[in-house]
C-alpha cells in the first residue's frame, strides 16, 4: 500500500465518521444549511482524494452525491426521508469500500446502482430546472468536470451553479457573503490551456470583519499574488475592488510554481483572519506537477499533526532506553564517588546526571500523553449502530454522551469499540423495554442510554447505563443452571455473584438467538478484553430502574504501579491494582483444609498459595522464621494470599509483552525493565490461580537451576571482560596487600576478591574466536571479518625490548639534547649523594622491591620476582636517556609525610600492556591495546605502582623511621616527550637528585622490564643520608 493510499484511508476514516454524525444530526434536526454544506464538503473531499488514489468508482459516487447535495444547497429540493436514506446508503457503501481497501483488497464496488439512484433522486428534484448541470453521460465520460470547485469548508452557502463569468459581473454592492463564484466550465477549460503543466491553486482570504479599507488590502494582495504567478481569476474582480468593493473575502485562482506554503505566506497581509489555499480542482483531477494530495487544504492555523502510533512507540522505546542508560551513568558515578571520595567535579557530574534523568522522565511523560486519545472518538461511532438497532427493534432510544473528552490510552481506545458495542447491544436488546411497556411502567416512552466516561483516581471509568427494566436475577440464575453453569442447588451469596454469570461463555438469556445479541458470546468478550487491559467490569442493576455496566481501566497502560516481591532467588512485580495488602502471618496459624491451605484473616477465609511452588522458583534459602510474608491479592472479587520471600518496594513499571518474540506465559502479564536494564516478570494473579487450582498444570520441570547456573557463568565472564573484576578487585587487593588503607567500603567486595584470587581459567586461544562479532555486530560485519585471526606474529617482548634499546643507544645523543632543550635545565651538576648513604638507600629499595614481588605473587597466585639489577644517581640532563623512547606508559606517585620523595614507574608500551594483561589474568595474545581498555590499563598499572611505591615507602619507614604515604597515582600514556613535559616540568629538576632503578619483573618464562625513578629534593637527600 503506498503512502498516499495510507493517507487517504486515514483521512477517509475521519470523513466517514463525520459524515455519519452529520447525517444523523440532519435526520434529527432537519437539513440546515451548515449541515448540508458539511456533507457537501465531505463528499467533495472524498471525491477528489479517492480519484487521486485511483478509486474512480468511489469518486464518481461521491460526485453524484455532491450533485444531489448541490440541489439541496440551492434550495431546489427539500431534505426528505428519501434523500436521507440514499445518503445513508452512500455512507455505508463508501465505508465498505474504504474498509476493503484498508484490508488490501481491490475495491470491487462499481456503485452503479447507487449512482443510478442518486441520479434518479436528483432528477426528481429537478422540477424542470433544465438550466442546471445536465446529468447525462456515463461515469467515464463525465468525471468531476462540472463540479463546483474546492468550496472552502467554512464558506457559507456556496452557490456554484453556472453563473456569468465573475469578471463580467460588476455588481459590487451585493453583500459579499451572498454571492460567491468560482470558475465556469468554460473558464475551467481556458485555465487548463493557460496553465499547461503548471499547478493552479484555489485560494480564499478572509479579512477581519472590522478591518477598514478592505478593497485596498485586496488590491495589495493581488499585487503580491501577481509576483508569484499568473492570477487567472479573482472575485471580487480588480474592477470591483477599484470601485470600492466592501467584500470581506477574496477568492482567486492562481497559476503558480510556488509552494502552497509560500503562497499562504504571501496571503498573510495585515488584518487577515483566515487563509485557505488548496490545489485547483479541475476536470483532469489535479494539474500535472502537483505533488501534494488533491483537495487537501492547507489551513495555516493548523495546530495538530498526525503521527503514526509506530513512531510514538519508537520514541517511547528509546526514551525508556535513555532512562536506563541514565541509571547506568548514576551507577558509574557512585563507583567513582566510592573510589575517589567527595570531589567538586564529581558533584557537578552528579547534578548533570540528575538533570538528564529529569529531562528523560519529562520526555517519557510527554510521550505517554501523546498516546492519550479522547474517548469521544469511540463514543460517537455508536450513534449510528444504536439508531439502526433501536429502529430495528422498534424501540425509542436517545443516546446521550457524557465526558467524551476524557482521554484514554490509544491501545484501549483501539480495543474498546467491540466490547462496548456488545454492552450497548445488550442494553438495547434486553435492558430497554418497548415504548408500550415503558409507558405502562410509568416511564417516558423514549428510553435513555447514557455512554459516559470519567476519571477517578488512577482509573478511567466508562459506563453504559440504561433506564430499562434492570437485570432479573431469578431469570439469570435459572438460565445459568439450565446452561450448566451452576449446580442446581446453587445459592448465590450476593447479586454480584449472579451477575457474574452474564460474563460466562455460553450464557444468554435471550429467548431467541438474534443477529443482534444473544449469541452467548458477547459479554464474555467484554470481560476478556477489559481484563486484558488490566481493567474490571462491574454491573449495577435495579429491577425496573435500569442497568449500568461500569468498565474501569488503568489511567495509562504504559506505566503502572507495581509491588516488587522476592520469590526464591528471583524478583517479580505484581500490579498494585491487584494487591490488597501485605501481611506477615504466623506459620502455625495457616491451616490445611481438604488439601488446601487457608488462613483466617479477620474472620474471612483466605486461601494461601505458595508462590515459589507456582512459579517453580525453588524455595531459596529456607528460613524457619515463625512468620512468613504474604501478599494478599484480589482475584475476581475474592482475596487470595500468596506466600513470598519478601517485599522489595513499590515501583512504576512499563509492561512489555513476552509475546512479541516469545509467547504469552500463563501466570505472567509480561515483563518490565528495571532501571539497570534487568528484566523482571510481572505476575498475572488470575492466571496463577488457574495454575494453583490445577486447571493448568505446570507443563515443564523447573529450569531455575539451569538459568541460575548460566547467570553465574555470565557474571564471572562479565567481571573479567568488562574489567570490573580487574579494576575493582585488583585495586582493592593490591591496596590491602600493600598495606595501604582501602578507601572503599570494607565489606561487599570480599566475594569478588575470593573469586578473583582463584586461578583464572584461561580459555584456549582459538583462531576462530570471533572477537569482531561481539560489538553490536551486523550481519555484514559477520560476513567479512570471520577470517581466521592470524597468530601473533609480532616480535616477542624481549626482542622488541632489545631492538628498542639498540635504537635508544643510536640516537641517545640527539634525544638528550632535545630533552635538555625542552627542560631548560640549568647546567649545574647535582651535588653527589654520599656514597654510603646511596648504598644504604639501594639496600632499602631492594628490600622494598622484593617485598613488592612477594605481594604480587600472593595476589596473582603465580610466582613473581622483582629484581633491581641496576641503580644509579642521575642528573637531570641524563634523565632523558633512561626514559624509553616513543610511547610510554608511566605512573607518578608523590610521597608526602616525613620524607618528601616522588616516584615514577615507566614502561614502554609493550611492557606496559604486558604488565597490565598479566595482572588482569588475560592470555598473552590479549596483551595488546585492542584488548585492554585504557581505563583498565590505567587502574591496573596505577595499582602496580601503588604496590611498588608502598613497598618502598614501607621499607624506608622501617629503616629510617621516616613515615611517608604515596599520593593518588598520576597516570600518563603518551610519548616520552609528553612525559618529560608533564611530569618533569613540575619540578625544578636541578633541586632534585634522581635515582634511577632498573626494575625487572620475572614470571615463569616471562620478563617484564620497567624503570623506576626516585626524585629526592635536596632536603630529603640530607635527611635520608642522616637517618640511614
Amino acid at each position: 500500500m503506498d503512502r498516499y493510499t495510507e493517507l487517504f484511508l486515514e483521512e477517509a476514516g475521519e470523513h466517514i465518521e463525520t459524515l455519519n454524525q452529520v447525517l444523523l444530526q440532519m435526520e434529527r434536526e432537519g437539513g440546515q444549511a451548515e449541515l448540508i454544506d458539511e456533507v457537501f464538503r465531505i463528499a467533495h473531499t472524498l471525491k477528489s482524494s479517492a480519484a487521486f488514489v485511483g478509486l474512480e468508482h468511489l469518486a464518481a459516487a461521491a460526485h453524484h452525491m455532491e450533485d444531489l447535495l448541490q440541489q439541496l444547497r440551492e434550495g431546489a429540493r427539500e431534505l426528505d426521508g428519501n434523500v436521507l436514506a440514499i445518503l445513508f446508503r452512500c455512507l455505508d457503501r463508501i465505508s465498505a469500500t474504504v474498509n476493503r481497501v484498508a484490508q488490501g483488497e481491490p475495491a470491487q464496488d462499481h456503485f452503479a446502482d447507487l449512482i443510478a439512484d442518486l441520479k434518479q433522486a436528483r432528477a426528481q428534484g429537478q422540477k424542470g430546472k433544465s438550466e442546471a448541470t445536465p446529468t447525462s453521460g456515463t461515469e467515464a465520460e463525465r468525471p468531476a468536470s462540472a463540479s463546483p470547485n474546492a468550496s472552502p469548508p467554512t464558506g457559507p452557502a456556496d452557490v456554484s451553479a453556472p453563473q456569468p463569468p465573475a469578471d463580467s459581473s460588476g455588481d459590487a454592492t451585493v453583500p459579499p457573503t451572498a454571492e460567491e463564484r468560482w470558475l465556469t466550465p468554460e473558464e475551467e477549460r481556458r485555465l487548463q490551456t493557460t496553465a499547461g503543466t503548471r499547478p493552479a491553486y484555489d485560494g480564499e482570504v478572509i479579512l477581519d470583519p472590522d478591518s477598514p479599507m478592505r478593497n485596498i488590502r485586496f488590491l495589495l494582495l493581488m499585487e503580491n499574488l501577481r509576483k508569484l504567478g499568473e492570477l487567472f481569476w479573482c472575485s471580487p474582480s480588480e474592477a470591483d475592488l477599484d470601485a470600492g468593493s466592501s467584500a470581506d473575502r477574496f477568492r482567486f485562482v492562481l497559476i503558480s510554481e510556488t509552494s502552497r506554503t509560500e503562497l499562504a505566506k504571501a496571503c498573510r497581509i495585515d488584518m487577515v483572519q483566515e487563509v485557505i489555499i488548496s490545489e485547483h480542482q479541475s476536470a483532469a483531477g489535479t494539474t500535472a506537477g502537483a505533488v501534494l494530495k488533491a483537495g487537501e487544504e492547507t489551513r495555516v492555523q493548523t495546530k495538530n499533526i498526525k503521527v503514526s502510533a509506530d513512531k510514538i512507540d519508537y520514541l517511547m522505546n528509546n526514551v525508556g532506553e535513555m532512562v536506563i542508560t541514565n541509571s547506568g551513568l548514576l551507577k558509574i558515578y557512585e563507583d567513582l564517588e566510592r573510589d575517589l571520595g567527595e570531589d567538586s567535579a564529581l558533584s557537578e557530574l552528579k547534578s548533570r546526571i540528575d538533570g538528564a534523568a529529569r529531562i528523560a522522565r519529562d520526555l517519557q511523560t510527554g510521550i505517554m500523553k501523546m498516546r492519550m486519545i479522547p474517548v469521544g472518538l469511540v463514543f460517537h461511532r455508536f450513534t449510528r449502530p444504536v439508531r439502526d438497532l433501536a429502529a430495528e427493534l422498534g424501540k425509542e432510544v436517545r443516546l446521550v454522551f457524557q465526558g467524551d473528552d476524557t482521554e484514554l490510552d490509544k491501545n484501549i481506545i483501539d480495543a474498546l469499540p467491540d466490547p462496548l458495542l456488545h454492552v450497548l447491544r445488550n442494553a438495547l436488546d434486553h435492558g430497554i423495554e418497548p415504548a408500550a411497556e415503558r409507558t405502562a411502567a410509568g416511564k417516558p416512552p423514549q428510553a435513555q442510554l447514557t455512554l459516559s466516561a470519567y476519571q477517578g483516581g488512577n482509573n478511567i471509568f466508562i459506563e453504559v447505563k440504561d433506564d430499562g427494566r434492570g437485570l432479573n436475577t431469578t431469570r439469570i440464575l435459572e438460565r445459568a443452571k439450565s446452561a450448566g453453569l451452576a449446580a442446581a442447588d446453587y445459592r448465590p451469596a450476593s447479586e454480584e455473584e449472579v451477575f457474574e454469570f452474564i460474563f460466562q461463555p455460553g450464557f444468554s438469556t435471550a429467548e431467541a438467538v438474534s443477529d443482534i445479541s444473544g449469541r452467548g458470546v458477547g459479554m464474555n468478550v467484554v470481560k476478556t478484553m477489559v481484563q486484558k487491559f488490566n481493567g474490571q467490569v462491574r454491573i449495577r442493576s435495579e429491577l425496573g430502574q435500569g442497568t449500568s455496566f461500569l468498565l474501569s481501566f488503568p489511567l495509562t497502560l504504559a506505566i503502572i504501579s507495581a509491588i516488587l516481591i522476592r520469590v526464591g532467588e528471583e524478583d517479580y512485580a505484581v500490579p498494585l491494582s491487584d494487591v490488597i495488602e501485605n501481611l506477615r502471618i504466623r506459620r502455625d496459624e495457616i491451616t490445611r483444609l481438604e488439601g488446601r491451605t487457608i488462613y483466617n484473616l479477620r474472620g474471612e477465609i483466605l486461601p494461601i498459595h505458595d508462590l515459589a511452588a507456582l512459579l517453580g522458583s525453588g524455595t531459596g534459602k529456607s528460613d524457619h522464621a515463625t512468620e512468613v510474608p504474604v501478599l494478599v491479592a484480589n482475584v475476581g472479587d475474592r482475596k487470595h494470599g500468596f506466600v513470598v520471600r519478601g517485599f522489595a518496594g513499590k515501583k512504576e513499571i512499563v509492561i512489555k509483552s513476552l509475546e512479541q518474540n516469545y509467547r504469552n506465559v500463563r501466570g505472567l502479564i509480561g515483563v518490565c525493565l528495571m532501571g539497570d536494564g534487568r528484566i523482571v516478570p510481572v505476575l498475572d494473579v488470575q492466571g496463577l490461580l488457574a495454575v494453583a487450582y490445577g486447571e493448568e498444570a505446570p507443563a515443564h520441570p523447573t529450569n531455575v537451576a539451569a538459568v541460575s547456573e548460566y547467570n553465574d557463568g555470565v557474571q564471572v565472564l562479565e567481571e573479567r571482560r568488562a574489567g570490573v573484576g580487574a579494576r575493582r578487585s585488583i585495586r582493592e587487593r593490591l591496596r590491602l596487600a600493600a598495606g595501604v588503607g582501602s578507601p572503599g567500603p570494607a565489606g561487599g567486595t570480599t566475594t569478588l576478591l575470593e573469586r578473583d584470587i582463584e586461578p583464572v581459567v584461561r580459555p584456549e586461544p582459538t583462531a576462530s574466536d570471533l572477537s569482531e562479532w561481539e560489538s553490536p555486530a551486523t550481519v555484514e560485519a559477520a560476513s567479512d571479518t570471520i577470517a581466521e585471526v592470524p597468530p601473533d606474529s609480532a616480535e616477542s617482548p624481549e626482542e622488541e625490548l632489545s631492538a628498542a634499546l639498540a635504537r635508544l643507544h643510536a640516537d641517545r645523543e640527539e634525544r638528550r639534547i632535545e630533552a635538555l632543550a625542552a627542560l631548560s635545565v640549568a647546567d649545574d651538576l647535582p651535588q653527589e649523594i654520599d656514597r654510603v648513604a646511596f648504598d644504604k638507600l639501594y639496600e632499602v629499595i631492594n628490600a622494598g622491591m622484593m617485598n613488592a614481588g612477594l605481594v604480587l605473587s600472593q595476589l596473582l597466585g603465580v610466582s613473581i620476582e622483582v629484581s633491581v639489577p641496576e641503580a644509579r644517581v642521575l642528573d637531570a640532563r641524563q634523565l632523558a636517556e633512561f626514559v624509553p623512547e616513543k610511547q610510554v606508559i608511566s605512573v607518578w606517585l608523590e610521597g608526602s609525610g616525613d620524607l618528601q620523595l616522588d616516584l615514577m614507574l615507566v614502561f614502554d608500551e609493550r611492557n606496559g600492556y604486558a604488565a597490565a594483561g598479566e595482572l588482569m589474568g588475560l592470555p598473552a595474545e590479549d596483551w595488546i591495546a585492542e584488548k585492554i581498555p585504557e581505563t583498565d590499563l590505567e587502574s591496573v598499572l596505577s595499582e602496580l605502582s601503588n604496590i611498588v611505591g608502598s613497598s618502598i615507602f614501607n621499607a624506608l619507614a622501617n629503616k629510617s623511621g621516616l613515615d611517608s604515604q604515596p599520593s593518588v597515582p598520576d597516570f600518563l600514556h603518551a610519548t616520552s616527550q609528553e612525559l618529560m613535559d608533564r611530569f618533569l616540568r613540575k619540578h625544578e629538576l636541578k633541586d632534585y637528585r634522581i635515582i634511577y632503578i632498573s626494575t625487572d619483573f620475572y614470571r615463569t618464562g616471562m620478563e617484564l622490564v620497567g624503570r623506576l625513578f626516585l626524585f629526592l629534593p635536596r632536603a630529603s637527600v640530607a635527611l635520608v643520608s642522616e637517618r640511614l
Binding site: 512459579l615 518474540n661 529450569n703 574466536d769 553490536p776 550481519v779 559477520a782 560476513s783
Partner: protein, 164 residues
C-alpha cells in the same frame, strides 16, 4: 524491530551479492557455523541478526527446560534457547567462547546459546545436501553443508528458532 531486521537482512543480501559479483561466481550462500557440544551446525546468515556475548537472563516461569529465560536486547525482550539442551545434551557451560546468536525468524527474535561461533561459510547455492543424520531427528536438521574447512549440519529454523 522487524524493520531493522529487514534492513539488516537487505544489507546482508546486498553484501552477499557484491561478494558474488566480486568473485565472479554465482549464487553463494552464507551460513553462520557454530559448535554445540562438539557438533558443528550452521544457520542461514540471513536469518541471523547479531551475535552477542552471553548476557544476564531472567527466567520465565513455566517455560521449557531449554529456555534459559529472556534477555534485554536494547529494550527488546528476547528469549534464549540453550541449543545443547534442546538437542538433548546437558545444559551448556558458559565459557569465554560462548555466544548467543540472535536469529530473526517469523518476525520474532530468538537467541540461540552456542558453545562457540566458528566461521561464516560461503558455499554455492543448492550445495546443501539433504541427508538423514543419525542421532538427530530431521526436526532440527535439514541437511549438511561443506565449507572449505568443515562439514556442518544445517539447522531447521522452524524447529529451533521458535520456542515451544
Amino acid at each position: 524491530m522487524s524493520d531493522r531486521t529487514t534492513q539488516k537482512q537487505t544489507e546482508a543480501l546486498a553484501l552477499a551479492e557484491a561478494i558474488n559479483n566480486e568473485e565472479g561466481t554465482t549464487d553463494l550462500e552464507q551460513y553462520l557455523v557454530f559448535e554445540v557440544q562438539g557438533g558443528v551446525y550452521g544457520v542461514d546468515i540471513l536469518q541471523t541478526q547479531e551475535v552477542l556475548k552471553p548476557v544476564r537472563s531472567t527466567r520465565v516461569p513455566n517455560s521449557p527446560p531449554e529456555m534459559l529465560g529472556v534477555i534485554n536486547l536494547r529494550g527488546n525482550i528476547v528469549p534464549v534457547i540453550d541449543l545443547s539442551k534442546k538437542f538433548g545434551h546437558a545444559y551448556s557451560t558458559v565459557t569465554p567462547a560462548t555466544r548467543i546468536i540472535v536469529c530473526a525468524f517469523a518476525e520474532k527474535l530468538t537467541g540461540l546459546l552456542v558453545d562457540r561461533v566458528l566461521e561464516t561459510a560461503r558455499i554455492p547455492a543448492g550445495s546443501i545436501e539433504s541427508t538423514e543424520v543419525r542421532g538427530l531427528s530431521r526436526q532440527y536438521v535439514v541437511g549438511a553443508g561443506r565449507s572449505s574447512t568443515r562439514i556442518f549440519l544445517l539447522m531447521n529454523p522452524a524447529a529451533a528458532f521458535i520456542p515451544d
